[in-house]
Amino acid sequence: MLELNDVSHVYANGTRALDHVTLSIPRGMYGLLGPNGAGKSTLMRTVATLQTPTEGSIRFGDIDIIAEPERLRRTLGYLPQDFGVYPRVSAYDMLDHMAVLKGIASASDRKQTVETLLQQVNLWNVRKKALAGFSGGMRQRFGIAQALIGNPELIIVDEPTAGLDPEERNRFLNLLAEIGENVVVILSTHIVEDVSDLCPRMAVLAGGRIQLEGAPLELIQSTRSRIWMKLIERAELDSYRERYEVISTRLFSGRTVVHVLSDSDPGNGFTLVEGGLEDVYFSTLAQSRRAA
């Protein structure tokens, strides 16, 4: 459905944010994972017609996004990573305003759209308050609501769960899952769980390149019986990093859990673990770092 072909983008200061990205994104939820500064937002903005790539082509169905951004915008829902609001405008008025801009002309359609969305993102009670006074989470929910106006065919949400409390996050993910069955939804995040919970397909972006692409289940399958774990003291960590291919570390009751990647049993007290998507992600990042 959405085809990116050899897309690169170089910023004016010389940063190569996207480096020959080729992706094919089908209907349904698509997760884009990557660390900070991986180029996720650049990719999202490029697809959302807000930025022209230095080279490459992007097509959505029969629309050439670079040549005809206007056509894509008619069926696009976009939630940027960071956004602000106008002063002195309430949530209801702003959603209504956005509905007109998205092409919902009739008053009854707009009323239905705005009221439905306000309830779905749980902003009904504060609909008449000025957006400028919203907390970060409330503002994020407003952003989600506006991205869903007009039943878009392509929904791009850049780090949508940032700043949401767990309850709101669940509510939002449910909403997305419901919508995401028939349309293309691209969800960028650095939270692995968002992707593993929702997305039948995903890609890992780091250093401007696609490091990995596939279905989370298959990817997890591929790391099966290659991830080993051990509980060690913090002071030992450096020596372990030298000896093994450490893909992630985390703390657990004051000690450090290391995960290493190895095709065979590394011995030394390591035990095999059932790898999750997180391990896939971290091992990919570890590989890309090594390659760099």
Binding site: R73, G84, Y86, M98, K102, D109, K128
Partner: protein, 932 residues
């Protein structure tokens, strides 16, 4: 700590673009003032361009404008921490309030002072430029620069920085700071224009005026040029105290700012909290509707662009008109207009009758710079609003076409400007009513003010918006616009005067109660049509190049431009192009083909060349005109006159005359033929319209000859600048120079300004003849006594007037009048008898009417004030006369008052005078001109 903070701040300010841009702008402004003849600050006459006086004046005057720039530095000092959201990090460190505020202020002030050094640098470098006239320069002395910079400019810079720093600190808002500065500027202007008219307050003003201009001009008031070229005033007395006073005020503001500043964010006021609680309760009380089933509505396949345009327009208007800045701006505009009208509509404390035609020019004048500043400011605000609010990614991803951005935003700026214009008109009308003037025509306000000014302002708005669309950020856009205005002014002063390349320029018509706008609006409206075409193209460009999304570069958009131009945008741009070309061609035909386009420089060159070529004939004995037979056919609707006449020339000198020099001093007058009895035309200089006739037999003293001539005056089309207000549809007045040839050379049209004369290689001054030089007594200002027989024919609805007594009058298609009377100079006038005279006109200051009549020279002086002064000198009897209509009273003995006096000043354009005349205790009415 304090020092570190100050140092950091200094380094930060120095690396900002504002630092360099401001420095460069002030350098260029000062440099232009030094090196371009037409712009002079503090110098001129015999005062050198780099004299201590001129250096001081420039330092003082530029601080007035520098105030706006320095505020950008100091206001930013505190506000930027809130804007970048870095504030909380800083304020939670160990830094004290004093170190934080004063350290930063000191650092910023240091940067500001360095920027201002651009001014002395530009004066110094400017004075060394090789093309300057050496006579206008003196030696450069370092002490003069130090005196002006440290004693005059620095205190002002400190005080202004401190005041606006305090305001920014207390309000934590750039917007309120700029409103404060505009308010300060306007109050200062208003105060100095109102109080400055009262000489008894001179010393008080000198103490209280914040920029030191009053004090400096007071202490140097009676200085000669030699003193101004060589010395600085003692830094004592009023000058010292003025500087100290304002430094003290600056320190007080700093202390106040520090006191009002809170590290912590202010909480919500109790009243607002209650209000919000109520609203929340209300929102909750609404029962949430049941969740609608099914998918959300989809947009139609056709974009509802008109609905989008409507909602965006409404939205922009709300954002603009509901902002507190706008309300404050309107209040300030009201104040400014009111004070301008109040003081502009009176002469030396005597209020004039506020006729609309007299008030409109003052009103228009009030809107010059202020409206441009408003346009520039709002264009930056509206174009960058989405980005400043960081909502641009959301809005830009909607299918709304870019022109739905451009049009409402431009319209927003236009409406802001229009609302200031409308407020101006309302203020003017209320002033008229306050002064008891009720004959107010809304149509006059609409057609002569709101409409043309509104359209002119639209052009400024469109340009300002396009510049913001193209510029990389808001501040650069503002800077470009300021630069544009400076360049615009400079271009005009150095000789690029044609309206066709001065964007958005469309002149207003001279107004009069007798002649209305007299067809003079045409040139303005043609130009407006022309600029509308250009503006349309600019709007299309704004649409195509609109910054959509996060793309900052212009290049990709330019690359796509040709492709996107296809279709409707291209057609609209083409429409604009065709309109502009068509109107432009028509304007060019009028200004450059039908009429001659002459710049001020070319005019000066002409005058200089005239002098070089012909001044040598000044003392050549010439015959005098002792009788005139004149037949003038006026065609007021065509602005045409056909003239045939005969002079009786008599040699009133003691010597025989062998050649007669005949000149045409009027640009519009065409002399078709001249024939002098017993003479042949020896030469005719086309360029200077100068004829020399050689007499076959010299004219002996006392001998007379006849000179026949035919001439035509025909104002066709319109000129680029200047209107022929002589021959008009109603209220024509033609003096003899505009009707007929002039005999002999004199100095009347030569260059007078010393610097200009030197520039063209002429002696600095043409002096009056020495007392012993008796040859000068052969001539006088006015000329000899003449008898005149004048026949005037004009439109059937017109009343012709000429000096003398009416001999016959024919009614029918043309009214004729034959007059015969001894006079100094002859002139004719024609005005409609059908149109009612205005109900009331202006008041004038003049002496008893006989004075005016004896001062024929007033004709050549367009400046009524000077004429006034002259009248005062002549009589000692000087009273205020107010011109009002009244019953048909006449004062005997006043019949030879000339209408010529009226011609030059709208104040005099009326029929009757009411005044208290010497020897009579009551007000009486009289005609300004003879009505038999």
């Amino acid at each position: 700590m304090f020092l570190q903070v100050a140092k950091f701040e200094f380094a930060y300010q120095r690396s900002s673009p504002v630092f360099w841009v401001t420095g460069i702008i002030f350098f260029l402004l000062t440099f232009a003032g030094m090196t371009i003849d037409q712009i002079q600050v503090g110098s001129g006459g015999n005062v050198h361009a780099n004299s201590p006086f001129a250096i001081s004046q420039q330092h003082l005057i530029w601080t007035l404008f520098f105030m706006f720039a320095s505020t950008a530095f100091v206001a930013n000092v505190v506000v930027r921490d809130d804007e970048t959201r870095f504030g909380p990090i800083l304020r939670s460190t160990r830094i004290t309030k004093f170190d934080y505020l004063m350290g930063r202020f000191s650092g910023a002030l240091a940067a500001i002072v360095i920027v201002y050094a651009a001014v002395p640098l530009a004066i110094f470098l400017g004075s060394t430029m090789p093309w300057l006239d050496k006579e206008t320069l003196g030696p450069n002395r370092i002490g003069d620069y130090l005196y002006a910079f440290f004693l005059l400019a620095l205190p002002t810079i400190f005080t202004m920085s401190a005041i606006f720093f305090a305001l920014a600190t207390a309000t934590r808002s750039m917007m309120w700071t700029y409103i404060g500065i505009v308010a300060f500027f306007i109050f200062n202007t208003v105060a100095s224009s109102i109080l400055g008219r009262r000489p008894e307050l001179e010393t008080a003003i000198a103490y209280g005026e914040p920029f030191g201009l009053g004090a400096y001009s007071l202490v140097t008031k009676y200085w000669t040029s030699a003193e101004r070229n060589s010395a600085n005033p003692d830094f004592a007395g009023v000058l010292l105290w003025n500087r100290l006073l304002w430094i003290g005020i600056g320190i007080a503001f700093l202390a106040l700012g520090q006191k009002l500043y809170r590290f912590a964010e202010p909480g919500m006021s109790a009243r607002r909290e209650r209000k919000q609680k109520r609203q929340e309760a209300k929102a909750l009380a609404d029962a949430p509707p049941s969740a609608p089933a099914g998918a959300l509505p989809r947009p139609r396949s056709r974009l509802p662009v008109l609905a989008q345009l409507a909602i965006r327009t409404k939205f922009e208007m709300r954002q603009i008109f509901r902002s507190p800045a706008y309300v404050v701006l309107l209040l300030l505009a009201t104040l400014l207009v009111f004070s301008n009208l109040w003081s502009g509509n009176e002469i030396y404390g005597t209020p004039s009758l506020p006729r609309t035609v007299a008030i409109l020019p003052i009103l228009t004048g009030s809107f010059g710079l202020i409206s441009i500043i408003i346009a520039i400011y709002y264009a930056g605000e509206v174009v960058w609003r989405e980005r400043d609010r960081k909502i641009h990614e959301i809005i830009d991803a909607t299918p709304m076409p870019s022109w739905v951005y451009v049009v409402p935003k431009t319209l927003g700026v236009v409406l802001v400007l229009l609302s200031t214009v409308a407020i101006g008109a309302l203020v003017a009308i209320s002033l008229q009513l306050m002064r008891g003037f009720t004959d107010i025509s809304i149509m006059q306000y609409l057609l002569w003010f709101v409409l043309p000014i509104g359209v002119n302002m639209t052009f400024v708005a469109v340009l300002a918006v396009l510049v913001q669309v193209l510029s990389p950020n808001k501040y650069a856009g503002w800077g470009i616009m300021v630069l544009y205005i400076v360049i615009d002014v400079v271009m005009e002063t150095i000789g690029f005067e044609h309206h066709l390349y001065d964007y958005g320029s469309a002149p207003l018509a001279p107004l009069s109660d007798i002649n209305g706008s007299g067809g003079f609006m045409a040139v303005g409206w043609w130009l407006r049509l022309y600029w509308a075409g250009v503006a349309l193209i600019m709007l299309v460009l704004g649409h195509l190049l609109w910054r959509r999304g996060t793309e900052q570069r212009l290049k990709p958009k330019l690359r796509r431009l040709p492709k996107r131009l296809a279709g409707l945008p291209g057609a609209i741009a083409l429409g604009g192009f065709v309109t502009a070309t068509g109107a432009g061609a028509y304007i060019y035909h009028n200004t450059n083909v039908l009429n001659e386009y002459q710049t001020t420089n070319e005019r000066e060159q002409f005058q200089a060349a005239y002098e070089k070529k012909y001044l040598k004939y000044e003392k050549l004995p010439q015959p005098s005109v002792t009788d005139v037979q004149l037949k003038v056919d006026l065609f007021p609707q065509e602005t045409r006159a056909e003239i045939a006449g005969r002079y009786r020339l008599q040699n009133l000198t003691q010597t025989p005359i062998s050649e007669v020099h005949i000149r045409n001093l009027d640009e519009t007058l065409k002399i078709k033929s001249v024939a002098l009895g017993g003479a042949r035309q020896a030469s005719y200089d086309e360029e200077f319209k100068y004829r020399v006739f050689k007499l076959e037999r010299p004219m002996m003293p006392g001998e007379t000859r006849g000179l026949d001539f035919r001439a035509q005056r025909w104002q066709r089309g319109f000129r680029n600048s200047g209107y022929d207000t002589r021959l008009v549809r109603n209220g024509t007045f033609l003096a003899h120079q505009q009707l007929a040839p002039v005999i002999g050379m004199d100095r009347s049209i030569l260059l007078q300004d010393r610097a200009k004369r030197r520039k063209y290689g002429l002696p600095a001054e043409l002096r009056t003849p020495k007392l012993e030089d008796l040859s000068a007594t052969n001539k006088n200002y006015i000329g000899s006594w003449t008898t005149a027989d004048i026949t005037v024919s004009t439109g059937a609805d017109q009343t012709p007037i000429a000096p003398g007594k009416k001999v016959s009058d024919e009614t029918g298609t043309a009214a004729g009048l034959l007059a015969s009377y001894p006079t100094h100079q002859f002139s004719i006038s024609s005005r409609s008898s059908r149109r009612a005279m205005p109900n009331a006109t202006a008041s004038m200051r003049g002496g008893p009417c006989r004075l005016l009549s004896s001062d024929a020279r007033a004709k050549r002086r367009p400046d009524a004030e000077r004429a006034d002064r002259r009248a005062r000198l002549l009589s000692g009897e000087f009273r205020t006369l107010s011109i009002r209509p009244g019953p048909d009273h006449r004062v005997p003995g006043l019949f030879d008052l000339r209408p010529g006096f009226r011609q030059h000043d709208p104040l005099f354009r009326d029929l009757r005078v009411r005044g208290r005349f010497p020897g009579s205790g009551e007000d009486r009415l009289c005609d300004l001109c003879h009505r038999p």
